[in-house]
Amino acid sequence: MEEKNQKLQENSLSQRINDFFSFDENQIGSRERLFNLVDTFQSKTDSPLFLIAGSWGIELLSEINLEHDDIDLIVLQNLPYYLDDATEIEESCFGIIPLDIDYLKENFIKKNIFGREIYLPDFNLQICLKLIGQLQKKLPERAVNQLKTLLDSYKNFDEEKSEKEINYLLNKLIPRELNSLILSQNIISALKTYFREEKESAIEELIRLHSLINKSLRYQFEKRGLTKKIKISDK
């Protein structure tokens, strides 16, 4: 019974965060809203309840100011859940992120920002989400700049560990018709090129890999009739 209650409580966390976003009067995507969120939920516990992803994840990790449309979160409940505070139907998202909860609980970065403990996805997860989550045919300039900011702040790059982690992530997040092992090797190779200061050539390769993933995702969306729900930009 106690276990059941704990599960119910965990699974209602995303709902409680959604309710918080509905009532919080700070501007969508703002720093005030983000800190209010952390103060309301995260400050009451020592272990992460959610990871801050998206552009805020990159800003907090790199300590470089970026523009923000929304606050993206990975909620660490029984089934990990992705949600943001956007209100426009085409921009807002909420749903299961098909990653192992133990993986997310073991692989995060903790930062202390203005006395608050803030938990962020690690570099490899943020890179993968940037390459997968942009559904334009070409990786948009804004995402490219965020990716560069992320890579410029990448610490403790471990080629072998990163390749395994990226392979795990791609295997879970992209269509099976793509070879996640080869793709992760290509991403690692692009990262190494970037860290050798051949940044433009590395970014070109990452744009190519994004395009490859995007093409395969579009095919899956069309096959499942998902494109009828939301139009994908052809830019």
């Binding site: 992120i97 989550g133 729900k229």
Partner: protein, 39 residues
């Protein structure tokens, strides 16, 4: 993150869960191999 991608992930998650339940796929993941050093 666009909602269309979330719909796709939901389906992918359900498919994989079904495969694990049917015994067609092992549920273990190799995640232990890459515990973060960045905490």
């Amino acid at each position: 993150m666009p909602g269309i991608l979330m719909s796709y992930w939901e389906e992918k998650f359900q498919e994989e869960k079904q495969e694990v339940e049917d015994g067609r796929k092992k549920s273990e993941t190799p995640r232990k191999q890459f515990i973060s050093k960045d905490k």
